[in-house]
């Protein structure tokens, strides 16, 4: 599925997802799918928090200080979050179905 997700246009955190910053990055919890994700860096947290204000995810990465060389790994991390419905296009349907899942670790 990951190849199909176009990370273009505006994205945002799913409205049912809460973020809790921690030293290593953040916990993200989706109350709908009951999935817990661990964001493995503070910068990835900055990117996720900056999605809604940015015209597209790449711009959100740049705004958070992600270097060009790191862009592919950050885009891959965002794709993982998109596949599990933690982030969604700012207008449009979500991608994942609703079920209970074990935690996932998301590194950039």
């Amino acid at each position: 599925m990951s190849a199909e997700i176009a990370l273009d246009g505006p994205w945002r955190l799913h409205p049912q997802v809460a973020l809790r910053p921690e030293r290593f990055g953040a916990l993200a919890y989706h109350f709908g799918t009951r999935r817990l994700s661990f964001l493995k860096s503070r910068r990835l947290l900055d990117v996720v928090q900056g999605l809604e204000a940015a015209p597209d995810p790449t711009a959100a990465c740049r705004a958070a200080g992600v270097a060009d060389a790191e862009l592919p790994s950050y885009r891959a991390a965002l794709r993982t979050l998109a596949e599990t419905d933690m982030i969604v296009p700012a207008c449009g349907a979500s991608l994942a179905d609703s079920e209970s899942n074990p935690p996932q670790v998301v590194a950039a």
């Binding site: 809460a18 290593f24 916990l27 919890y29 109350f31 609703s98 074990p102 935690p103």
Partner: protein
């Protein structure tokens, strides 16, 4: 730093907590980890329990695993569920199913914030009822049926793996599929009344290896609460965090508000404080001496020189403690067999720590008469569901 190492130093708030709402239970399972039965008169009041929920919301503890006892026997159970939902605290509660009637099932199906886990410990009535009591298998399946009919999506079937049911894993999976449920299997701990039956019930080493292979094959759609991380020493790590989260990323709040390092360690040695203290749960979590100590680098002791230490991290603290083994040595069910020798070498006079609290009504010290393979032999056995059956 690896995520596991970060977690070993503790988080600002738990990832999730277990909250036993009551010690009252209408069953008397032989392996009950909280030695439940009678209600404790010091149980948290409704107002106090709501206060804990509000504190969890402030700390951003996203979900709690509610258990007991049988949590649904609390008169304010539904009120507390609603309060949790209103305060963005997700709930998964464990039940024996006896109070999940059609109305309760419909109510649960209508909520986004609540997940239900029905306990059975055998894929057949004979195996289950020997552990959980006569009639308990049918009661649990009735609840699953009503949840399914009400449209509740994907409840959990929660199974403690024992010597008697370890051969039924495929049957449990099939049973879960029948009810549109997800299977959750966890480890038998020698905690609470579990200490009395552990020798008889804990899986053999051959069964453990089969279980490990089974989890490698099915791990993606079977939940385990990461409770089998000690088996990772067999080779490839199992899915999950693979660490002891006690006091670092998880803890237990018991019915009277005592905060223990983990649900399997109800003993003064692992008591960090009480939510009724002025510093509250948050203060206990962040500053208690016990949790501070658990977040320091731990010695692997005798295990440190083992090539598999990185995989199993020495196993389960509670399993060691309640079998009388040193905390910095191998798990009693060490995949490499190092625990068996230590268990055999324990002296006759060894005093195994007893749980701090015991609310048992009766204290069955072994499997119910007749054994797991046959139905209960004594029809005069007190039926722990009598109250429920009389009402319905």
């Amino acid at each position: 730093m690896k995520l596991v190492e970060e977690f070993e130093f503790g988080l600002d708030a738990p990832i999730c907590i277990t909250w036993e709402l009551t010690y009252a239970c209408n069953l008397a399972c032989v392996h009950c980890l909280s030695s439940s039965g009678r209600r404790d008169p010091r149980e948290l009041t409704t107002a106090e329990a709501k206060g804990v929920i509000e504190e969890l919301e402030r700390m951003q503890v996203f979900y709690v695993n509610i258990g007991g006892g049988e949590p649904t026997v609390r008169k304010d159970f539904w009120e507390l569920l609603d309060h949790a939902a209103e305060h963005n605290v997700g709930v998964k509660f464990s039940t024996n199913g006896s109070r999940i009637d059609a109305a309760a099932a419909a109510r649960l199906a209508a909520s986004d914030y609540v997940d239900v886990q029905v306990s059975i410990d055998g894929a057949t009535a004979a195996v289950n009822d020997a552990v959980r009591g006569p009639g308990s298998f049918d009661t649990a399946l009735g609840a699953l049926e009503r949840l399914h009919t009400a449209g509740f999506e994907k409840p959990k079937i929660s199974v403690v793996v024992t010597r008697q049911n370890a051969g039924q894993l495929d049957d449990f999976k099939a049973l879960a599929d029948t009810y549109g449920a997800q299977l959750r299997i966890t480890r038998l701990r020698p905690s609470g009344r579990g200490a009395d039956v552990w020798d008889e019930l804990h899986p053999t080493s051959d069964q453990q290896r089969s279980l490990y292979m089974w989890l490698l094959e099915h791990g993606d759609d079977v939940l385990t609460g990461d409770s089998f991380f000690h088996l990772s020493a067999y080779g490839e790590a199992l899915p999950g965090l693979n660490l002891c989260g006690a006091g670092r990323v998880v803890c237990l709040i018991d019915p009277v508000g005592d905060v223990y390092a983990c649900p399997f360690a109800i003993h003064d040695e692992f008591l960090a404080g009480n939510v009724r203290e002025p510093r509250g749960f948050e203060g206990v979590w962040r500053n208690s001496d016990l949790f501070t100590e658990l977040r320091r680098p731990q010695s692997g002791g005798a295990c440190e020189s083992c090539g598999h230490y990185d995989a199993c991290r020495g196993g389960c603290m509670a399993a060691k403690f309640f079998t009388g083994l040193p905390l910095d040595g191998p798990d009693p069910e060490c995949a490499l067999g190092h625990g068996e020798g230590l268990l055999a070498a324990r002296g006759e006079d060894l005093a195994i720590p007893a749980p701090a609290v015991d609310h048992s009504r009766v204290k069955p010290s072994r499997l119910r008469e007749g054994g797991p393979a046959r139905p209960p032999a004594k029809v005069c056995d007190e039926n722990p569901l009598a109250d429920f059956l009389a009402r319905s």
